[in-house]
């Protein structure tokens, strides 16, 4: 490691209002190195990379590439300096072709024609070189998530990037796709490129990186060679204190609450569901693992009441599920935590109490004859819920948009758990939250389990599922595997099932085939 640093951050500070997202960060990167940037959600990793890539401007400090200061706030300058970024949310236009997505911005905007032939040649050569193959003429909308990521990497390489930044690249991949990505990254670094790898998954970082920098609350709390690091130490550095995540306590499952039989749906533009069978019992958390977009959204929409085009039987406590009517579903004892807090969970432009009564506003407690709102009762209840769920806010009449992600999720939780539901649908309930909020949300779910709720937990995070659920099933290509004990399979085995395209091998043990399981 005696080569000159190719990239250096010097005292970079970035504030958003009162929040210090990056606090005096200094960091350097050498050719051939894979630097892992480790930190919790909200630790400032993405902000730092957005400064590097010119999306944001730092308030203080500088970024040096090859010893020369990078002009602030210019993506173009960053690209020209050899920086390429693979964003967490792909920056691709779905209705355009792979080639168009890659060549955009590589030719002068004043040119009177595109030199399609020579760009195609360059791209072909590159794909050969790095072993990354994609059909250049395919529309991006026809590509799988893994292929899209390859397009993103090709986009950076096409512009002769020497520093490649990958922001949470494995979040959308199966473990197998992830290991393919890792071998690509290794072949890239042997050519002298440097990689910054952003993640909060420890095992990945230990596998792929040569050096780790740990961010906490916007500041670097430590840097070390990966060879000298171990899991516990990194976790301790990342979180800063030992946060004990709540653990499952053994409890005997009760009666079946949610029963799904032969559920099949066209999906209405989303992934279709094929012959789903699943039963969730009282006092039980069942996890659904799988890469996003394999049908979890369709299932969640059906259970939430947003989609009612399906065949098969759906029972809650042996009664028919109130399909297609969210308020009836809620009234029948279901609590729902949607995947996207901002888009679906809350109307952020309305006040907190208004959001808290949205699900039962037509109930006699909240309105007279479904016409006049009983604001006194609604406000009183909102105050109680704010107290009970420890929502940090100025009061029930505060605007919801002012809340942090964690506090907003607490509100959603408060609303979902308000009537002590028999069944809870929790779709990615902790995504994007910090450790404290995660512990709070998970604790609430476990309490609900203790009280006898049946819980369906949809998540992409295997670690979370394996520690928090009694049983699990894997969703792939619209099919659901048989239910198994959460401790029964290793992460690698589950990964294989996630990547199986729905061709699940018959699982061993007593619960094969039926997808229904009772007892220990």
């Amino acid at each position: 490691m005696d080569s000159e640093p190719i990239l250096a951050f010097q005292g970079v500070t970035k504030r958003f209002g009162t929040l210090v997202a990056n606090d005096d960060i200094s960091l350097s990167l050498r050719p051939g190195e894979v630097l892992a940037l480790l930190g919790e959600n909200g630790a400032g990793k993405t902000t730092l990379m957005n400064i590097l890539f010119g999306h944001y401007q730092a308030d203080e400090g500088a970024v040096l590439v090859d010893g020369k200061e990078l002009p602030a706030g210019s993506t173009l300058a960053a690209i020209q300096a050899g920086i390429g970024m693979v964003h967490q949310h792909f920056t691709l236009a779905e209705n355009l072709t792979v080639l168009e997505n890659i060549t955009l911005g590589t030719e002068s905007l004043l040119a009177w024609r595109q030199d399609i032939r020579s760009s195609r040649k360059k791209l072909d050569a590159m794909m050969q070189d790095y072993g990354l193959s994609v059909d250049p003429d395919a529309l991006v909308s026809s590509l799988s998530v893994g292929e899209r990521q390859r397009v993103e990497i090709l986009k950076a390489l096409y512009r002769d990037a020497r520093i490649l930044i990958l922001d949470e690249p494995t979040a959308v991949l199966t473990p197998q796709e992830a290991s393919r990505l890792f071998s690509t990254l290794k072949s890239i670094t042997t050519r002298g490129l440097a990689v910054i790898f952003i993640s909060h998954k420890l095992h990945e970082i230990l596998e792929i990186s040569t050096r780790v920098a740990v961010l906490r609350r916007g500041a670097i709390v430590g840097q070390l060679d990966t060879a000298d690091a171990n899991r516990e130490q990194l976790a301790q550095m990342m979180v800063g204190r030992t946060v004990s995540r709540p653990k499952l306590s053994p409890i005997e499952p009760g009666t079946p609450v949610l029963q799904i039989e032969n559920l099949t749906s066209e999906g209405m533009g989303a992934t279709a569901l094929k012959q789903l069978n699943l039963t969730v019992y009282a006092h039980q958390i069942v996890g659904i693992a799988g890469v996003a977009g394999n049908g979890q959204g369709t299932l969640a929409d059906i259970l939430s009441g947003l989609n009612s085009s399906f065949t098969g039987s759906l029972l809650i406590n042996d009664a028919a599920y109130c399909t297609g009517d969210p308020r009836a579903i809620v009234a029948s004892g279901v609590g729902r935590i949607p995947e996207d807090r901002h888009a679906r969970g809350m109307v952020v432009d309305m006040e907190i109490w208004e959001n808290l009564m949205s699900e039962d506003i037509r109930s006699p407690a909240m309105s007279k004859h479904e016409i006049l709102i009983n604001s006194k009762a609604a406000l009183r209840r909102a105050e109680q819920q704010i107290d009970q769920f420890d929502v940090r806010c100025e009061g029930p009449m505060a605007e919801t948009r002012l809340l942090s992600g964690g506090n907003m999720q607490k509100l959603i939780l408060a609303r979902a758990l308000a009537r002590d539901p028999a069944f809870i649908l929790a779709n990615q309930p902790v995504r994007g939250l910090d450790e404290g909020a995660i512990a709070h949300v998970q604790g609430q779910l476990l309490e609900a389990r203790q009280r006898g709720a049946a819980i369906l937990l949809i998540s992409e995070d295997l670690d979370e599922l394996m520690s928090l659920t009694d049983k699990m099933a894997v969703m792939s290509n619209g099919k659901l595997s048989a239910v198994f004990d959460s401790q029964q399979h290793s992460a690698a085995e589950i990964g294989l099932m996630m990547a199986s395209g729905g061709h699940f091998e018959a699982t061993t043990g007593q619960d094969s085939g039926t997808g229904e399981l009772r007892g220990h």
């Binding site: 958003f16 401007q57 009517d325 308020r327 888009a343 969970g345 949205s358 699900e359 037509r362 709102i373």
Partner: protein, 350 residues
């Protein structure tokens, strides 16, 4: 240049936004007045005098504000649900058509029944005109702006056909106009002199009713929720399509009432120049009111004063009357801008 939300929006700041917008509009129009060679302050003085300078002027301004309150309410309800109804002009004429159809002899009732009857059929007609655009929006995702705009032209041609053809008043000496509303249906004037009529009271009542609905009823809550975030509203159980359709009916109904009030109140009969663009000005009214139904009242009076006053001003200092339309157009843009700056701020560097 970076635009970022303000940490806190002071009520003062937000409430002043329309005032800023009006000031900016007046400054821009001052440039035009100056270009026309008239002394700016004197011209504005004449405008104010023309609108409020005498009892007659005040009554005239209030009379002219009646249709603007209705169309302003129509637009503000619709825009709250992000249903961009730009067809208030057509719905106004639809209301006028209904008032003419039922009010010229087909139905006869004593006035206390006849007037509410006409208001209701006018509202129904205005709402009915929105059925096609709203269903196209909810079921086929066809942009409602274009369909409602196009329907304005269709309705106007329909009016032209009817008053030149089957509904033409034989007593009108060749002018294309419909028969007069029967006496029981005519909105009585409020004061002995002047044209100020019962429509004002109806408009004020509607403003209060719409305000109450938006604030205190489930329907109003659902309209707001759908407008702010239709997906979240749907998730929590609001029937989004039904709410949008309901919003459209209320909006069209309010615009239809404007037509009734103009036909049965001001003129007494339907003509092709019943509305000099009240439907479009309603957009400016609603924007200046920041979609608040009660604020629609002062906003409508203000823009009405601009029209009435600019008539007087242009006669006196020889400025084209279109100056009033320019001010209306600029104020829509200015209020958009000033409301934004009450919520966001621009940072020029870093």
């Amino acid at each position: 240049m970076v635009i970022e939300p303000r940490q806190s929006v002071s009520i003062l700041h937000a409430g002043l936004a329309p005032i800023w917008a009006i000031l900016v509009s007046m400054i821009i129009c001052a440039a035009l007045i100056n270009w026309a060679g008239a002394p700016v302050f004197e011209a504005y003085g004449l405008l104010v005098k023309g609108a409020f300078g005498s009892a007659f002027a005040i009554k005239e301004t209030l009379t002219r504000s009646i249709p603007l309150i209705f169309t302003g309410l129509a637009v503000s309800v619709a825009f709250r649900a992000k249903f961009y109804n730009i067809g208030a002009e057509g719905q106004l004429y639809a209301g006028a058509l209904a008032a003419t159809f039922f009010g010229t002899g087909l139905v006869t009732m004593p006035a206390p029944l006849m007037i509410p009857f006409l208001v209701i059929v006018g509202a129904l007609a205005g709402g009915a005109l929105l059925i096609v655009p709203v269903l196209l929006k909810t079921h086929l995702k066809v942009d409602e702006v274009v369909t409602t705009l196009l329907l304005n032209f269709v309705v106007l041609l329909m009016v032209s056909y009817l008053i030149e053809g089957p509904w033409k008043d034989p007593m009108s000496l060749g002018w294309p106009q419909a028969a007069s509303i029967i006496d029981e249906g005519v909105l009585p004037t409020l004061m002995a002199k002047g044209r100020l009529h019962l429509g004002l009271i109806i408009a004020l009542i509607m403003a209060v009713l719409v305000w109450l609905m938006m604030r205190y009823t489930v329907q109003g809550y659902e309209i707001r929720a759908v407008g702010h975030n239709a997906k979240a509203a749907e998730f929590s159980g609001v029937r989004v399509n039904r709410t949008v359709i309901m919003t459209a009916m209320i909006s069209g109904g309010l615009a239809g009432m404007a037509g009734v009030s103009e036909t049965a109140g001001l003129k007494g009969y339907l003509t092709l120049d019943l509305s000099p663009g009240f439907g479009y000005t309603g957009i400016a009214v609603a924007m200046l009111a920041q979609l608040n139904p009660l604020a629609v009242i002062p906003a409508a009076v203000f823009l009405s004063a601009v029209y009435v006053g600019s008539d007087a001003m242009s006669r006196a200092v020889n400025i084209p009357t279109y100056i009033a339309d320019v001010l209306v157009g600029v104020s829509v843009l200015a209020v958009l801008c000033s409301v934004m700056f009450s919520q966001y701020r621009i940072r020029w560097s870093k």
